[in-house]
């Protein structure tokens, strides 16, 4: 059995002293311990993307990411996507295009989209497919995600870009 460890977690610009099993996936540490429940459990094996967060700017499945492997890397969760009342362009576009149905997967979808746009401010359809094909949606909102990403890119250009 892995001995407990004390780990310093960098989440949404704050440091958290976290004590526990270093094998614990970041998803459960965020949800059960830090009270950040925007990342959702969907599969537990990194195939659905509902739990996606940014780790040093990269969108990763938090359900297969052990807390002990994070080191000093910076985690950003969907709760920190908006800045106060100001929605992130992706969130704004998601609203304009009315993407969510049940909404359960959408935090992960938005995190994948935000990471994509930070890397490619004007992504091609192939880049969107590549970046979002790890995010499942059982309600089938895919048809709205693509135009919403294009709209978010436009909003970011208008506002000088931010992610």
């Amino acid at each position: 059995m892995t001995p407990e460890r004390t780990i310093s977690l960098h989440v949404n610009g704050r440091q958290h002293r976290w004590r526990g099993d270093p094998d614990e996936p970041l998803l459960w540490a965020l949800r059960d311990r830090l009270g950040l429940r925007g990342a959702k459990y969907g599969c537990g094996i990194g195939t659905c993307g509902a739990c996606m967060v940014h780790v040093d700017g990269q969108a990763l499945a938090s359900c297969t990411l052990p807390v002990g492997a994070l080191g000093t890397r910076r985690v950003r969760t969907v709760e920190a996507l908006a800045r106060g009342d100001a929605l992130h362009p992706v969130q704004q576009a998601w609203l304009e295009h009315q993407v969510p149905q049940c909404g359960y997967c959408q935090c992960g979808q938005m995190m994948a989209a935000a990471a994509l746009l930070a890397r490619h401010p004007a992504p091609s359809e192939a880049q969107i497919d590549e970046a979002l094909r790890g995010n499942l949606c059982r309600c089938g909102t895919y048809a709205r995600i693509k135009p919403a990403i294009a709209r978010a890119a436009e909003l970011m250009r208008q506002t000088g870009g931010r992610s």
Binding site: R37, C102, G140, A143
Partner: protein, 779 residues
Amino acid sequence: MSAPGAAAGGLQRRALLQAAAGGGALVLGFRVGDAAAQTAGAGAGAAAFQPNRWLRVERDGRVVVLLTKTEMGQGIETGLAMVVADELDADWSRVGARTVAPDGRRFMMTGGSYSMAVAWEPLRKAAAAARQMLLEAGARELGVAVGECRTAQGQVRHAASGRAVDYGRLVEAASRLPVPPSPTFKSPREFALIGRPLGAINAPAIVRAQAVYGIDVHLSGMLYAVIERAPVLNGRLARVDDRAARAVPGVVDVRVLRGNVFPQSPCLRDGVAVIATSTWAALKGRRALQAAWQFAASDNKASNGALASSAALARDFERALAGTATRTDPDTLHAGVSALRRGSAEGLQAAFAGAARTLDLRYDVPLQAHAPMEPVNALAHWQGDRVEIWAGTHFQSRVLQRVRDLTGLPAERVVVHTPLMGGSFGRRLEVDFVLEAVQLSRELARPVQLLWTREDDLQHGLFGPASRHHVRAALGADGRLLALEHAFATLSVRRQNEPEGIRADGLDPTTVFDALKFPYAVAQMHVRQHLVEQAIRVFWWRRGYTPNHTFVNECLLDECAHAAGADPLAYRLALLGAPRVIDYDNEGDAERIDTGRLARVLSAACEAAGWGRALPAGVGRGLASTVTDTHVAQVVEVDSRAGRPQVRRVVCAVDCGRVVNPQLVRAQVEGSVAFALTAALKGAITLEGGRVQQSNFHDYPLLRIDEMPAVDVVLIDSDAAPTGIGEQASHPTAAALANAWFAATGERLRALPLKPGAPGEPRPPAGGPTPPSAPGSRG
């Protein structure tokens, strides 16, 4: 009330209509005495104006629509709130909605895509009555005649003087007025909200990650539980060594749950629950369990889970269809029952004898998983003489009833909160997971959240019923359909869950209804049902057996058209004939097809899809339709040139009566198409030795974004009362795709999921059978 037989697919519409009216006929009785209604009529000091059980107006002017329907992604919260707000002349920016707690008197269930159809009239009446009361109170407040005032945007306005008073200020005065028994409705020309593409009420909370799903509910001191269950149905726990599990830091307890403590939910099997202070500790403890299971030695396939297998099921289907069932296996194969005869045995024989051409076809539909993105879970807080429950369920009445059966607690001591659900597709009509959470909370006297993992969901869950169909069709020299003989074998959801709903002659009316709902001209039509039993739990999956029979009937029509050398659209329109209304008896209630409306959506879909226009070789279009109140037709365009079906475009024409919110209707169509494409191209649950062979999304893949076709929705203008769209558009897609594949390749695919080039089928023109592969794990 327990509403016998009421579960989405099999529910009786009459019961539903009564349910929508509040379990009685009292929509406009405004029965005071409802817990929520006690402030109404209070007059001075009233906290809110609540003339009935459907809405309240707060003193600050906010309007809260009180729903007995549950939101799970289908947009019903917004749709119903719009109906109320419009008729009330409320200010939409100040309208909210919440799902009420079930009270044990009102039947509370959401399913079958009926919510809008059954709520439209009662909600409008309730809101119109409230508007009339507010108008009267407002006129008095302004000291003018009622006739000089009008309502708009949450205000009573007096045009002549330009003065206005907010609804919130009329709470007390309106509460003192009598409720008008027959209020006047707005005319549709006056609708301010209905028909507009408004955003969903809960969308801002969802994009801000503030929406609370069942899995997100948190209570201080709560524990987290997962359950290791017997790997096969009806397996028993022989012994368990839980020492290693208990040694995992955070594990609080390990409890054996016997499946038979839940006699009302026979789907539950023996299990060992690990309860911990975090989800991760519970999962880790579960992995450390050493459990041994024993399986029944019985050779009864209906009860011995270890005997269940896809191969055995296929064999039993074949034997049932061959008619040898009752002699060989009385326990598990039931005698065939003829459900309907249009014509006579002699007529059928004569039609086949005189046919210019006959078709003899077999179709196959596999077991399907619901796989909502949020796996089922429930939080229960046992408090000695009462229990509080937070669970994503849309059958709250069943929760009350089953918790009472389990614990003896009367309905008023069972408090059910319904948080937002991360999808359901029928799964959350069963309440097994709620009972497990209640039982664990009772044993531990702590709040316990029970989580089914994705593996639990796929392996121990409930599945959409598989079926095998044998269809014979006789065509005349002119190609018209003379006779249809359809025998099918399936597993019965009702026999497993509500056996009292099986008819004395053995017929399960829910399995045959959609086979019989065939509006095309045919003089002889015989349908025969064969029920097979295996220890496989089947359940409502996107409305009963509609997906199965829509696939069969809609492929069959296409095959007949091609056999007759006719264009599939022209063939259908010819068989539909002159517009008329046909009522189908759905267990005492009429379900209606208007052939004129059906012809219209068929033509509209084809027109928008460019039906008949040339396509590149290897690309084809296919047509299919369905009617469950709402008339839907789809054209799928598929590209076969890569050797596998690549769906490029789906056009869907929808006549759902008056469109309350076009963007929500479109969303449901887009989503239904995606859901259906998963089933058509990928999804299948298979069993071997009683064990489900799929376990997670790597081997039960869902459609991904790069496989999503363009979806064009054509909404038909209509003044008819609105009908549902939650799942209707998912029904024709598989058939439309199979028909398109035939048009593209000449290859007929009659088994779902569609596998081009499978053994026994002709090869596609190019490439081999390479289904899209699931991407590897990320992260």
